[in-house]
């Protein structure tokens, strides 16, 4: 099996889906000749031509709105927003139309489209290039929100997203675009949207993370397990919405303890939602408050201070210990 980084894996998913289904096309700023500013769409223009790999004018709302129009007529557009920091510009179209067309038409119309966007910190980028705003999207009924954590699930989940009958926001943790490689089979793999993955089973405590946070989380778990007898169950959330309540509650019912690690600020974040879910379904099993390791409720600092604000393995390990010892 070839070893690919996440950029290559996503490229593979796009390439194969486009080869398979001529209704799939790609549009966005610099996705054509440049192959995307992160090279995710590299080579697609040459292979599929400019009617299917569209370098659009610089206007996110129209990218979203036009992709929506295409999807209404049966195409399966994959729109790229160059950075998630500019994705607020697509919200009016996403919330106002793509998320609603199925309800608005009582199921007679739908918007099978994907919006891809690199998100998150860790690459010393400019202002607006480092936020994690998955919660804003996951709050919208009618929209699915997916965040892969590595090349292999990125590929499989993007294939699933492209084939999904509903609009999917596909957020790519750019910190790990090229950070590591995994074996990714050339043969088709299709992920399941709405399903979290138990990356490592354990009995004593559950830890939940997603995207680029999975790696520091695993590091912390490894460090902890080297020191203590505790067995940690690690959940990779993968889909933000609809959230996999079952995997989470089953795990927490078993372990009675839970830590959540996220790159996003704390207030009204995915971690808030997961805690609410545990309250609703498994409160009585809790032996300690759910502990969170998060960014802070500040304006995302520029990269000079970035690392001070992102969760790191030491903090995660400390949170695990605190929760185990509660």
């Amino acid at each position: 099996m070839p070893k690919l980084n996440m950029v290559q894996a996503i490229n593979l998913a796009l390439r194969q889906e486009m080869a398979k289904d001529k209704n799939v096309l790609v549009l966005g700023e610099d996705v054509g000749k440049d192959g995307g500013v992160f090279r995710v769409t590299d080579g697609l223009l040459d292979q599929f031509g400019s009617a299917r790999v569209i370098d659009t004018p610089l206007a996110e709302s129209a990218i979203m709105g036009a992709a929506f129009g295409m999807s209404i007529l049966g195409l399966r557009p994959v729109a790229e927003i160059q950075f998630s920091g500019f994705a607020f510009l697509i919200l009016p179209q996403l919330e106002g139309n793509a998320s609603r067309i199925r309800a608005r038409s009582q199921g007679t119309m739908s918007a099978p489209m994907v919006v891809r966007m690199p998100y998150g910190g860790g690459v010393r980028a400019l202002e607006h290039h480092s936020e994690s705003r998955e919660a804003t999207f996951a709050h919208l009924p009618g929209v699915k929100v997916v965040i892969p954590s590595g090349p292999r699930n990125a590929r499989a989940l993007l294939v699933a997203a492209i084939r999904d009958p509903d609009p999917v926001v596909f957020m790519e943790p750019k910190h790990i675009y090229r950070a590591f490689k995994q074996e990714v089979p050339e043969a088709e793999e299709v992920g399941i949207i709405g399903q979290a993955e138990v990356v490592k089973p354990g009995e004593d405590i559950t830890i939940i993370s997603w995207g680029a946070m999975l790696r520091p989380t695993l590091k912390a778990v490894e460090a902890l397990e080297a020191k203590r007898a505790a067995r940690v169950e690690v959940i990779d959330l993968l889909t933000m919405s609809p959230i996999d309540a079952r995997t989470i509650t089953e795990s927490v019912k078993k372990t009675g303890r839970c830590v959540i690690v996220q790159e996003a600020p704390k207030t009204l974040s995915m971690s808030s939602e997961i805690i609410a879910l545990i309250n609703d379904k498994a409160l009585l099993y809790l032996e300690a408050p759910v502990k969170r390791v998060t960014h802070f409720d500040v304006i995302t600092p520029y990269f000079g201070r970035e690392n001070l604000f992102l969760p790191n393995p030491d903090q995660i390990e400390a949170a695990l210990i605190e929760t185990l010892d509660f």
Partner: protein, 362 residues
């Protein structure tokens, strides 16, 4: 070298049949008698439906809605120029055009009675559902036009309606630019009724015309007398012909007037004069066409009486159908969040239904 003119543009105005009955035979689109009557009939039916809906709203049998009285020439003329497989992408002031496409009036009534069921048949008639977010539909029209061409559906096109107010939205700009760059087969029709609720055109834009906004995108444009159904038809037909043959988008400004309130919740006397309204009642598109048809001998008072009777009956029947259709699935919203409801949604549906049983038992 120094200060030289490098580009020049102009905007033309089209009028074929004016409010005084003056008629330009050279420009006339030369519709058959049948077609002229069809077009006229659609306008009369639109007016009848509108007035009927007003009454129903006042009686509490319908929610808030935006009337179309005065807009019939714009809507029916433009719609008449389309083919049934062209998509119409409108806003919320195109009811008579929806009827022309065969969407039953019942649907509109359900919609304004607060039921999503009102849009359940739209797609079958190549109509997008009613759009409330101003300007939002313009990029859709462009994407749809792109998709048609992409799928090799040569000769099909999209007609997209919006108001003068909507032309101020960013989506207007982005969509026209995309349409131009893509040379998409789409015709943008601005229903310039000179008011956006209480805001007059002069506060909306300082430009002499809405049509000239097309110059920003190197798109052909024209301003049309929007109360002249022959002109609205012809301008749309010409633009569609160009679009169908690969000539790209057009912006048509149709100057008309909303003769009554913005919506049934609005009181125009707060912001404009009865005099102004009177001036425009004198330009009412329906009598204008009526007199013309009589003059050219395809119409008479007897036909008119029959038509009025006919149209009343049709509207009556639609209202009856509407009011007898009362069986709505209360939990339908859970069906249409996603194609397949998530586990959480099914759980919520169960709670919803149990709440419902509780309150029915209470």
């Amino acid at each position: 070298m120094p200060l030289k003119e490098i580009a020049s543009f102009n905007v033309k105005h089209l009028s074929i049949l004016d409010e005084n009955g003056q008629w330009d035979e050279d420009l006339d689109p030369k519709l058959s008698d049948d077609d002229l009557i069809k077009l006229y009939r659609a306008m009369v039916k639109g007016r009848e439906a509108d007035q009927r809906m007003l009454k129903m709203q006042r009686q509490g049998r319908l929610g808030t809605f935006p009337p179309t009285t005065g807009h019939e020439a714009v809507i029916c003329g433009a719609t008449f120029a389309t083919r049934d497989d062209d998509w119409l992408v409108g806003s919320y002031r195109e009811m008579p055009g929806r009827l022309m496409r065969g969407e039953p009036l019942e649907r509109t009534l359900h919609y304004y009675n607060g039921r999503e069921e009102g849009s359940a048949l739209s797609a079958a008639h190549h109509l997008m559902p009613i759009q409330v977010i101003l300007g939002s539909q313009l990029p859709h029209a462009v994407g749809m036009a792109y998709a048609m061409r992409y799928k090799g559906e040569q000769g099909r096109a999209v007609v997209c309606f919006f108001g003068d107010g909507a032309s101020s939205q960013g989506d207007f700009h982005e969509a026209l630019n995309f349409a131009s760059v893509w040379q998409a087969p789409v015709v943008f029709v601005c229903q310039n009724n000179q008011w956006a609720i209480s805001v007059p055109l002069a506060c909306q834009t300082r430009s002499q015309t809405i049509a000239q906004k097309a110059i920003a995108y190197q798109i052909p444009c024209i301003q049309v007398d929007g109360n002249d159904a022959l002109a609205t038809y012809k301008a749309t037909k010409d633009a569609l012909d160009r679009a169908r043959s690969g000539g790209g988008p057009t912006l048509i400004e149709m100057v008309t007037y909303r003769l009554i309130m913005h919506t049934t919740a609005d009181d125009p006397s707060k912001y404009r004069s009865a005099d102004e309204e009177k001036t425009w009642w004198d330009k009412d598109p329906i009598p204008r066409l009526f007199h013309h048809l009589k003059k050219i001998g395809v119409w008479d008072d007897q036909k008119q009486a029959l038509l009025e009777e006919d149209v009343k009956n049709e509207v009556n029947q639609a209202v009856k159908n509407f009011e007898s259709e009362v069986d709505f699935k209360p939990d339908a919203p859970f069906d249409h969040v996603f194609e397949t409801p998530s586990a959480a949604l099914e759980e919520q549906r169960a709670l919803f239904l149990s709440n419902l049983r509780d309150s029915n038992n209470a």
